[in-house]
Symmetry: D2
Subunit: 286 residues, 4 copies
């Protein structure tokens, strides 16, 4: 039987992609669409985050880039680290199931060029939630599981709740397989006045799904450069100051190859956005 089109389902406004009489965007595809990891897009996000700007060894950045992306000679190894406390929802109040849809994330973006155009590439990213890992893989984010934490701001401040004020410090940590992979601190200086602090180069990732069939393991089913196109991006309550970051050497890991030679700004803010699309820039399969 052919895969059934979803246009009928979409018209019904029920938010499900129908495939083979089974519902779901990600695994598992099920009769009722309840046990599936994620509902279909659009995907809604809110978060508090820390961002730390840094410069890695340009040759380490270059080594991390996939075919089709080139180093940005002007960038000198420029990169960003992010610690996110996310809340996700679909069209069915998924934010009311926080054990299933709330999560934390750490990732690095490195500056690169795609056919001369300034972009960012994500070589490493860690989350503590499977629905987020699945959505990430669909967007070319190479997610692994890890434990990520950041100092939190509370309306009731005190000695355990830093105020949004000059001098306040917010720390972020990320670990995987019982090893600390990243530690950062943002020290606030002032509210962000210049919105260009958030001019993100578009994120271009390597979308990849391998092939297990013997003799074809060098021919992945999916292997392409894709551009993430989130929309309705809002940033609120943003403060800027200094950032520090370390990427400690850990057994059987290689993030530390991107260890900062120097660090730049640190930002602490809240953001929201929507994801419902992905652009393919270049299919890399032979």
């Amino acid at each position: 039987m052919q895969v059934r089109a979803s246009r009928h389902a979409n018209k019904l406004g029920c938010g499900w992609i129908f495939l083979d009489m089974l519902k779901g965007f990600h695994y598992p595809l099920t009769p009722k669409g309840k046990s599936t990891l994620n509902p279909s897009p659009p995907w809604y996000y809110s978060a508090d985050f820390l961002n730390i700007e840094f410069w890695a060894d340009p040759s380490a950045v270059k080594a991390a880039l996939p075919t089709g992306l080139d180093p940005d000679p002007k960038a000198d190894g420029h990169a960003s680290a992010y610690f996110y406390d996310w809340q996700f929802s679909g069209s069915n109040e998924e934010y009311l199931d926080p054990e299933r849809y709330q999560y934390r994330e750490f990732f690095i973006l490195v500056d690169a060029l795609f056919e001369g155009r300034p972009v960012s590439f994500c070589p490493y990213i860690f989350v503590d939630n499977d629905a987020a890992l699945a959505r990430g893989w669909s967007q070319g984010y190479p997610k692994r599981l890890g434990s990520v934490f950041q100092t939190r701001y509370y309306a009731a401040t005190g000695k355990a709740g830093p105020a949004l004020a000059a001098g306040s410090k917010f720390a972020g940590t990320a670990s995987a397989v019982g090893q600390r992979l990243a530690e950062g601190v943002v020290t606030l200086r002032e509210p962000v006045r210049d919105p260009s602090a958030f001019d993100q180069r578009p994120v271009v990732n390597l979308l990849h799904f391998p092939t297990l069939a013997a003799g074809k393991q060098d021919k992945p089913a999916v292997h392409a450069l894709v551009e993430n196109v989130p929309h309705d991006v809002k940033v609120e309550q943003a403060w800027i100051g200094d950032g520090t970051l370390t990427l400690p050497v850990s057994k059987n890991e290689e993030l530390s190859d991107l260890a900062p030679r120097r660090c730049g700004h640190g930002i602490r803010a809240s953001m929201a956005y929507i994801v419902d699309d992905l652009k393919t820039l270049k299919d890399l399969r032979g």
Copy 2:
């Protein structure tokens, strides 16, 4: 060798209790006081929380009370459920180590009387962090490990971030040993205008530390009614509305004996406080 007094240490302002040349308030007591679960008091806290008021079966409330606490006939089984996203700190910027000191908690308080005085008692409480479990046990909170989550408010609201507005919903869940033990929802109506909504009856707990020695297992080393005396309590950003709560029946658990017959208000707020003391009301050892 006698246990060395800490007064000298306190004068030094270094925040350590010295015992036997080893440092630490809780286990482990160590040469440098770095690996110990918690620094000495004072203990500082900030949090966002959900509170749901409910009425349980009064006989189930009575059955949960320890010796020395009596049911409150006026309460008719009145109780409260709480879902907390906490951040803890001592005197050494512990809030900058969120993997170690940030945690989530669910608990129930039931109305009772101590020698005729209205109090609350905590029969069940779950956290996802060992430092918090240890501090809890020192205050008579009978903590076990569990996974607790609550819908979060973000400055950047959106379809995944409910605004602080009438009609917004915030959910809380608590599970232990892979079983769901509590689910609640707070639907906001209005900002809290009447501070008496927070008139907490003082929390009186059963402080307990068993004895393993054969023949003395019915003679706990510690077994007393204690009153928690936090101070500098601040509540901010508080909204009130309706609350709903379920305590599902689960294998080898008994919280469901306190299942709500009806629910009352729901509150979503931020709070901070300080803990550095505990009052013993009554030693219950024979």
Copy 3:
């Protein structure tokens, strides 16, 4: 740049698939191949497991099947539940990194037919490890994260270690998102004498990788029936007896639709096998 063939890499015996100068079979593809989730096949496995045979409602089994698989009218809803304590390794002693490569798993297989041939299909499966989730997805196993446990046999038996003897009981549990999804018990009767107890119908899965691009979300990049072809399967220390299984109703889950109407045998054994291939039976994309 074209994707580089791996044949050269294979001749070097270094076990890596080279793509774009980056190494790795699964995400992330990296310069050194250390941080990647999994090494390339072959993949080696050892495990202790529990198997419980049961019969579900045939209409629920039918509803769970993808296009191309048909119910087996002789099966009457026949299915199997499995609780596995796995250890994985590749070609680089990965079994010496148990935090990264040891894991637990629960899954259900239901009897079905592929073009009249008896097969099994996996509608639900849970693991507690990301490397295992990734390998699963490559084989069409629709893995989600969960917590899975089984009673363990120890050479030093005692009141906490059931012996391999008639009457001994071994329990298995699986939970996800803080809810208990499966509970089973195997009560041993005798060592397995008839190897046909292990005649597994070949596992035919739905290999699936969605498309996020707007307008194409009903056109998954990968959507095919695939047959798992493990080899060198060894089963040791196998005992057979009775099995019991429950699949409790849980919020926003649907495994309970396959709840047993009756149960059959239970098996407790140890097994090992090798995975290095996957057969595509039928591409289901339009």
Copy 4:
């Protein structure tokens, strides 16, 4: 009301300590004794374990000892590291609830003297389970939460399941707060012929329960040297060979002060024992 004696309860053979009409040995004390962390002793254990013998800096060992224990000059910093995969049970088939009662543990024992008698002391110990943490605290083991893993032996050996044979390797790791605290490898040489390899010096611990009351925080409620007295100790399937161990330096931890200067034997075995008593050697409270 006085604390009720448990002798009547024991005669009933129901395994519960009754206190204040509430049941339980550890928190929480409850009406039905179902939600309590642990049943009353006797406590039964089975395990597979790795043991690595090492010599730490004697001055670091000395610094870790509590009052009343003296360094053993003949020991030269002799110590042992252990990685355990435990299964626990009480009198109610708790081994059939593995999510609740199965756990993993890492600890270090250092040689010391108590009034001239050779003993071992436990300065650091990590578990991944709250019931185990509670039982540990009752025995003077200063348990914190951590993630612990060890390579496992399976009856179905293969490239992912090392055989019990000369040359086979078994690794153990322990982490806490996202940092790796210990890594060890045991390489097997031969079955253990000399049972004196297991001559454990008795474990003497520091039993400690702090006091939170202001002004008394230097007067712990419990602070004594206690001797663990397990019985019916069985060791099976034991192999001996070489051991290697590292205790990496980690932020805000101090186990690395005991880092091995050299390592000795490694053992991989299975064991079982029973705990139902604890001897107080010396009360250290002023």
